[in-house]
Each structure stands twice: as structure tokens, then as C-alpha cells.
């Protein structure tokens, strides 16, 4: 599904503050895998995400999605495969637009936004039913501004928005970093359910080792721009939570 081939990303090239964020990283993710990526700050996790999503262009190397070379494709064009949930709940939604308008755009992620009224009664009912599955009581507030909701509520809706249109890959970039522990729990459980229900290929970046232990069927540890450890399903299952903590001590 995803092929990163010999990706190197250098920031501030040929300047005194040159940084090699990714150093010849190769990673291949199969369809249906739920990869959890951990690593200390500056290990290159976020850069890896940005190179994959198209927000950054790799200095060298190749990015392939479903066998297609997307290395030079703009971020907005890669959205035909990729849905993203950002660390900042504000980044994934438009605060001044209503919830229903946000969902309308999410439903059109892979297609043209035409000069036609798309928010009709049928669409509203469909969105209401979907939001009701969250059990947050937001289904009666779809005309409300997105910005009036809490970070946890917004993040939950962003997750739901990511499966409004055909999605192959779900990128979760520390989606719970800005949330309280209880909301964080709800969000990750919702994500886990959606990933299973829609059979998504997912990558989750997290700093929470408990979450890294609990979720996903593959674990990747990054360090200084390289993949340090890569545990497949059975290796991850055999892993003890205390092992994880030792990696970082």
C-alpha cells in the first residue's frame, strides 16, 4: 500500500543550521496494517508523515502509494488516498464553518467541489446518523459552528470526517496530544474501531507508550532520522509494556 524508498530529508541545506531529519529511511506498509510510530522529539516521525502526506518534499528518495509514484504530487492531490488527523484539533476542521459544512467537504475529499448545493436533507440525515455513533450528543448540533466545540469533540468529528469519503490510508499525527486523558482514550478507541470497520491502512504517531502498546499491529521506533526498531504483529504481541519503557530509559 505504502512504499517509502530511501527517503532522505535535509532541512536548511548547505547552511550552518543544516538538519538531516530523515536519513535513508525505507518503510513499506501493507494494506490493513495499523502501524504505531514512536520515537523521541526530533527523531523524524513528523517529517516522515509530512513526506508521506506531501506537506514536505523529500530531498531524495521515492514515495509510492498503491504502486503509483507520488513523490512529486502535491498534498492536496494525495488526499485521494490519504485522510489526516492532526495533532492540533484546530488544524483538521474549519472553525467558522458549521459542522455540517465541514462534513460536506470531508465527503468530497477525493472529488470535485462543484457549483451545486450538496448539503440537502438526505446528506444531513446521513451525517446525523454517523455522528450519533460517537455517543456525544452532537448529532443535534450539526448547524453549530465547529469552533464552538471542545478539542476532544472536534478531534472525534475529524476522525469521523476522515471516513466520509473513500479512504485507503489514515494518518494520525499525535491526535490526542492536546486532549485530557479521558478524551484521549475515547479518540483512540474511536480510531481503532473505524480502522477495523473500514479496513484502513493506518499509521499513528504517539508519545504515549501505553497507547503504543495497546493499539496497532506493528510498531516502529524512530531515532535520529532512522528506523531503529520494526516489530511485526507477532513480535509486537510478544512485547511487554515494560520493554517499551526500557527503550526510552
Amino acid at each position: 500500500m505504502i512504499e517509502l524508498q530511501h527517503i532522505t530529508k535535509v532541512f536548511n541545506r548547505r547552511q550552518s543550521n543544516e538538519v538531516t531529519a530523515l536519513n535513508d529511511v525505507s518503510l513499506s506498509v501493507q494494506k490493513g496494517e495499523f502501524v504505531v510510530v514512536i520515537g523521541s522529539n526530533g527523531s523524524g516521525k513528523s517529517t516522515l508523515f509530512n513526506v508521506l502526506a506531501g506537506a514536505e518534499t523529500a530531498t531524495s528518495g521515492k514515495v509510492m502509494i498503491e504502486g503509483k509514484d507520488v513523490t512529486k504530487l502535491h498534498e492536496y492531490k494525495r488526499s485521494q488516498w490519504i485522510a489526516r488527523v492532526f495533532q492540533n484539533p484546530l488544524s483538521g476542521t474549519a472553525p467558522e464553518l458549521s459542522i455540517i459544512d465541514n462534513f460536506r467537504l470531508a465527503a468530497l475529499r477525493t472529488t470535485q467541489k462543484k457549483l451545486m448545493i450538496g448539503v440537502n436533507d438526505a446528506f444531513k440525515k446521513m451525517v446525523r446518523d454517523k455522528i450519533a455513533t460517537l455517543g456525544m450528543g452532537l448529532e443535534n448540533k450539526i448547524e453549530q459552528q465547529m469552533g464552538s466545540l471542545s478539542g476532544g469533540q472536534r478531534q472525534a468529528l475529524t476522525l469521523l470526517m476522515s471516513v466520509m469519503d473513500k479512504t485507503d490510508i489514515l494518518l494520525l499525527d499525535e491526535p490526542t496530544a492536546a486532549l485530557d486523558p479521558r478524551s484521549a482514550n475515547t479518540i483512540l478507541q474511536t480510531a481503532d474501531t473505524l480502522i477495523k470497520e473500514y479496513k484502513l491502512t493506518a499509521i499513528l504517531i504517539t508519545h504515549n507508550l501505553k497507547d503504543a502498546y495497546q493499539y496497532g499491529n506493528r510498531l516502529v521506533q524512530m531515532n535520529e532520522g532512522k528506523v531503529l526498531r520494526d516489530l511485526d504483529t507477532s513480535a509486537k504481541a510478544a512485547l511487554k509494556q515494560t520493554d517499551l519503557f526500557e527503550w526510552f530509559s
Binding site: 492536496y76 467558522e96 475529499r109 462543484k114 457549483l115 448545493i117
Partner: protein, 289 residues
């Protein structure tokens, strides 16, 4: 009374521009100075085509296309060359001055023995009422079309672009393209105001656009204050309030003139008036602390 009616009329004619500034200012957060140039451009094309005996209806698309091109150029400079939107607008506005002067041929053209859009329709025998009626219908049609566009899927995408660029990129929207289209629409509307005002005042002057963007900004700010005050969410209603803001702005200017302020001071009064509107939130905050 006639005095205030003229102000209302002018407010109506300028409200197309206010709708344009609503797009650039409130949706994209861009103070678009191109406005000064594209407003005159609309008036200049109107003058040349009217004196060339073109029908006022045919002039409308010509004026809008010209304004749209001006806006698109600002958008291209801003998004492709990564130049500050404010500077991009100033550059295009400056360039447009020469273009406007070349098209017009001289600095002032009277439009006296021509058939204007206000004379094409005869609904009222009293020309003052007739002007007001034609202007009102014209603006309502323009606002209705814009409201429809903003409510479509494309319109939602446009509104989201100015609100959360990271979100729209992730949702397959080309933000640069959206900004260029937005600036094109805004300046097409601004040129329409030039078209209306030239015919209403029966002349086109090369300097008529100087500082007009401030008038538009002031109108949008008044409208925006009302929108927030009444918590208006429907796009349709928001645009209607912007039209009202445009008229209120002209009425305030008319009032200041009526109490005996020197007409030469009009631009200064306009600038101070807009300054007061923009600084109200800050003054309020200072007063509370």
C-alpha cells in the same frame, strides 16, 4: 432628504464592491488594494463602451471579465511568486492606473448623452425613484447569485480555505487556485460598482478609485459588527447585512457633510471613520482593563 437619498443610492452602487471585499477580507483575510484600480477599470470600460453606443447590458460581462482578470493577476502574484497580498494588490493597482488612463484616453469623460442602465428600465416616472429601484434590483440579483455560489460545495470549499488552510489541503482543495478565483470574483464585483457609479454620477474620472477600498472595508466592518451582534449564520442574511453596511457607511459620510464639514476633508473623514470602527474592539478591551 434628496441629499440622503443620493447617499443611499451611492451605498447601493458601492455595495457590489462591499460584497467583493467581504470575500477577500472576511473569507481570505486579504486586504485587497487591487480594488482601487479595478473599480476605476470598471468605470473606464463603462465610459468607453457607453460613448461607443454599446448597450448597458452588454457592458456588464465586459466589465466583470476585466475586473476578474485584474483580481486573478493579484492572486497569481500573491500565490505563485509568494509576494505579500497587500503588496501584490498595490502593484496591480499601480499598473492599472496607466491601463485605465490609456483606455479612457483622458482623465475625465462625461456620460451625458448616452443611455445608462438606469434609463433602460422605466418603472417609475420620477428619475430618483427609478434609479433607486433599478440599483436595488441589480444589487439583489448580484447578491443572490453570490449567496448561491457560497452555499454550493464549491462555496463551502472557498469559505473553508480562508478559515483553515491545513484542513482544506488535506481535503483535496488547491488553496492557491481558490485564492485566485476568490480575488477574481471580488474584483469582478468591484468593477461592477465602478460600472454602476459611473452611470449614476454620469461621468468617469481617472481618480475616482483613490481610497475606495477604505469605503469598502468600512462597509464590510460595519456589516460584520452587525453580523456578530445579531449572531447571523445564514450566508444569505450575511450578504444582506453587508449591503446594509454599505448604505450605513454612505449615510454617515453624508451626515458629516451635512453638518458643514469641508468636502475636501471627505477622504480624511472616511479614513478616521474606518479607523474608529476597526479600533472599537481594542478601545473596549482597554476600557475594561
Amino acid at each position: 432628504m434628496e441629499f440622503y437619498l443620493t447617499a443611499i443610492m451611492l451605498g447601493l452602487c458601492l455595495s457590489a464592491m462591499s460584497l467583493g471585499i467581504f470575500i477577500t477580507m472576511k473569507i481570505f483575510n486579504i486586504p485587497d488594494i487591487t480594488t482601487d484600480g479595478s473599480y476605476t477599470l470598471g468605470a473606464v470600460i463603462t465610459a468607453v463602451m457607453l460613448t461607443g453606443h454599446w448597450h448597458p447590458a452588454i457592458i456588464i460581462p465586459a466589465v466583470m471579465v476585466a475586473g476578474a482578470i485584474a483580481g486573478a493577476i493579484t492572486g497569481l502574484i500573491h500565490t505563485q511568486l509568494k509576494i505579500e497580498a497587500l503588496l501584490a494588490g498595490i502593484l496591480v493597482m499601480t499598473g492599472l492606473y496607466s491601463i485605465n488612463l490609456t483606455i479612457l484616453g483622458r482623465s475625465n469623460v462625461p456620460l451625458l448623452n448616452v443611455t445608462t442602465v438606469f434609463q433602460v428600465f422605466h418603472i417609475f416616472s420620477n428619475p430618483v425613484y427609478n434609479d433607486a429601484f433599478v440599483g436595488l434590483i441589480f444589487i439583489i440579483i448580484i447578491a443572490a447569485i453570490l449567496a448561491y455560489v457560497l452555499m454550493t460545495d464549491f462555496g463551502i470549499a472557498m469559505r473553508a480555505t480562508g478559515n483553515s488552510a491545513s484542513m482544506t489541503r488535506a481535503l483535496g482543495i488547491n488553496n492557491d487556485r481558490m485564492k485566485i478565483i476568490g480575488l477574481a470574483i471580488a474584483n469582478a464585483l468591484t468593477a461592477l460598482s465602478g460600472y454602476l457609479v459611473a452611470q449614476y454620477q454620469n461621468f468617469t474620472d481617472i481618480n475616482m478609485g483613490i481610497g475606495i477600498v477604505i469605503t469598502g472595508l468600512g462597509s464590510v466592518l460595519i456589516g460584520d459588527a452587525l453580523i456578530k451582534w445579531w449572531n447571523i449564520r445564514k450566508v444569505f442574511a450575511q450578504l444582506a447585512i453587508i449591503l446594509i453596511g454599505s448604505i450605513i457607511f454612505q449615510l454617515v459620510l453624508a451626515f458629516t457633510l451635512s453638518i458643514g464639514i469641508d468636502p475636501n476633508m471627505l477622504k480624511l473623514v472616511t479614513a478616521v471613520f474606518v479607523l474608529i470602527i476597526v479600533s472599537i474592539p481594542r478601545i473596549k478591551a482597554l476600557a475594561q482593563s
